[in-house]
Structure formats: structure tokens, C-alpha cells
Symmetry: C2
């Protein structure tokens, strides 16, 4: 090691840290927070257990970083779908819910860890913070939908919180189950529930003739 870190050293350290976070994420996705011991994570990253503490002051700090990275990706994806320039607010809401749920079901272990798995209080605090971000994203789209006359008058923040909680809770059981029975049906039901929750009329109303071609 050098007295003053060279750019090469800095990059090498950052890369090692990245590998550590990635490995820890993989371990958490596979065995959950409680089973993800420091030694298991270090083994997965190919370093000694003690070396973990060169990059993070505690196991909890590493867990928080793992959570932030993974949850941040989902917030980004959901934000992009919800704020996409094309489509009505209601269409974007439906698509956002579907994309979020599909991604969760494609990486069940990680999604379960992020959404529901019992974890130390530091991770729990992070969970609360990220749920706030999901609520903010939904709030925007709901307000757009109300402004466009597509959604009935409602308290957007309350419905946004409801959607956040509802989607997470609906996914808990399917994420726990290891068999993928009827993912498409689940997604359809979930999206339908979300649209009902927001007050969007059913897409194909049986009684009313579709005289308005552009909903």
C-alpha cells in the first residue's frame, strides 16, 4: 500500500467494494438477511471475513448498502415507466404495476428480502424510506390522472400509499412460494386491483357502449 492512494489503487478498492456488494446481494437473495452471515458473504466475494470491515464499518452498514442498491434500481425502473412520455396516466399506472411485479417475480429471493423478509432495524428503517419514494411516484401519476379526468377525485397521497402497500403485500405470498403457478393471472389480477383502487373504470365495461374511442 502507498502513503497516498494512487488512482489505480482507488479504482481497485472501489471495484473490490462493488464485488462485495454484488456478492452480498446474491447471498441475501438466496438465503435471506438472517442467514447471510459475514463469512458467507465474504466467501462468496472471495475475500476473508475480516476484509469485509475494510469496506464497511459493520455488517448492518453492508446490509443497508445492499438494500439501497437493489431497492434504488426498482424505484428508478418504476419511475421511468410511470413518467414515460407515452400513454395516459392510467395506462402508465397499469404498466408500472405490471413491470414492478414482473421484475419482483423474476428475482423472487431478492424481492422478498426487499419487501417483507424480517431484517435488522437498520434495514427496516431503509424500507420505510424507500416506501416513501414509491408513494411519491404513484402520487404524481394519480394527480395526473385526476387532472386528465381519468380518475375520480381522491386524496392522491392516500391512494398512493395504498397502492404501495397493496402491491407489496400481494406479492409476499407468491414470492415466498417457489413454484411459479400462473404468473400471468396474478399480474392481471394485481393490475386490475390497482386500477380499481385508483378508481379507474374497468377497461371493458359490459353495459356502457364504448362511444369514447380514446379513454
Amino acid at each position: 500500500m502507498a502513503y497516498r492512494k494512487t488512482p489505480t489503487e482507488v479504482r481497485r478498492l472501489a471495484a473490490a467494494r462493488e464485488r462485495l456488494v454484488d456478492s452480498a446481494t446474491a447471498v441475501v437473495a438466496e438465503v435471506g438477511w438472517t442467514q447471510a452471515s459475514v463469512t458467507a458473504v465474504a466467501d462468496s466475494a472471495g475475500i476473508a471475513a475480516g476484509s469485509v470491515y475494510q469496506h464497511f464499518p459493520s455488517k448492518a452498514a453492508l446490509a443497508v448498502e445492499v438494500f439501497r442498491r437493489a431497492a434504488g434500481r426498482e424505484v428508478d425502473v418504476l419511475g421511468e415507466v410511470l413518467h414515460h412520455p407515452d400513454g395516459s396516466p392510467v395506462e402508465r399506472l397499469a404498466r408500472g404495476v405490471e413491470v414492478f411485479a414482473r421484475r419482483a417475480l423474476e428475482n423472487r429471493g431478492l424481492a422478498y428480502a426487499l419487501l417483507a423478509a424480517p431484517a435488522e432495524p437498520a434495514v427496516g428503517a431503509e424500507r420505510l424510506d424507500f416506501r416513501r419514494r414509491y408513494r411519491a411516484l404513484f402520487t404524481d401519476v394519480l394527480h395526473e390522472g385526476m387532472a386528465a379526468g381519468l380518475l375520480p377525485a381522491q386524496n392522491g397521497e392516500i391512494t398512493a400509499a395504498a397502492l404501495t402497500g397493496a402491491i407489496g403485500e400481494v406479492l409476499v405470498d407468491p414470492l415466498g412460494a417457489h413454484d411459479e403457478n400462473d404468473v400471468d393471472e396474478l399480474l392481471a389480477e394485481l393490475v386490475a386491483m390497482a386500477l380499481r383502487c385508483a378508481g379507474a373504470p374497468p377497461e371493458t365495461p359490459p353495459q356502457t357502449p364504448p362511444d369514447t374511442p380514446r379513454a
Copy 2:
């Protein structure tokens, strides 16, 4: 003490344990899980810190007991309201949501601890278990509503999970805020959201004249 515990002793011990659980519940409601130290709880119960371990093998076990008692009361109350002999399934659902939320808002500290506050993994596992019970209660009422033709066809278990998650998440922020601004409006919005989520038509449709006095 005696070779064999007398009934008096057994009762005295059970009472001491009850006092401990009650005191711990009060402390948790006031300062949260993380700040509820063994010494603080023991002081509140009027016993020494070490004596806690005569009743519970660990702090986590006491925390789990506190959670079970408090959450169990709410499950019981919700179950009674949802399964009440009077009223349509939709009316009972609305009333259940309102009662649940009102009780939470009347004991904010405890409700926050039960619903959202970061806690040790043992309590987190208990949370998952109790959410399953809430879902089961809602599932029954939703199926009743569908059978009675009051709710559209839907996957009852998914909507029940959605309601469970939605109600909890909506309450998180109001429970954290210490000022009680517009509890009635919050309750009205929450109930309206829950009914939308279940697919119940709005209670006072603007077009249709209210020719049916008893809904």
C-alpha cells in the same frame, strides 16, 4: 418457596408476568422497539432488569409476546366487526376498515410499533404471521360480497392481501405525525379507497336518485 408451587404462587407469578408484558407494551408504545431497553421496561414494571429473565429467556422473546398480545387484540376486534351478523358484507368491510384505523389512530405509538417501526427480525417474523391473519379475515368478507353479488368477480385472496397492505401503509404517515389533523377526513378517504379496491360501487352515485333508503 415450596417444593411444589402452590396455587397462590402460580397466580402470583402469572400476575408478575402479565404486569411485565403490560409495562413493556406501554414502553414500546411510547419510545418504540429500539429504545425499549430491558432496564427501561423493568423499571416501568417495578422489578430489576435481571428479573425479566425469570419470565422470558431473552429480550426478543418478550418483544414477541408484546407484539402477539397487542396484534392479537386487533385481529380479534377486526374479526368481530367483519363477521358481525348485521349488515351487508360491503358495509361490514367498510366498518371494519374504519374501526381498525380509528383504533390505530387512538393508540398511535403502539399502532406504529405494530405496523411499521423497524424491529428485530423475531418481531418482523411475527408481523408477517399476523398480516396473514388479517388477509384471511378480509378474504372471507370479500367472498361473501361476491356471493351476494355486491362485489365484482375477483381473486379474493389477492384483494384481501391488497387491503391488508394498503390500510397499513396508509396509516404509517398519520401514525408518525403527532398532530391529529383531520382524522375524520383520513378515515373517509381510507374507507372509500378500500371500497374502490374491492370493487364496491360508490355509496352515493350522483346520477341515480336514492330510491332505496336502506342500502
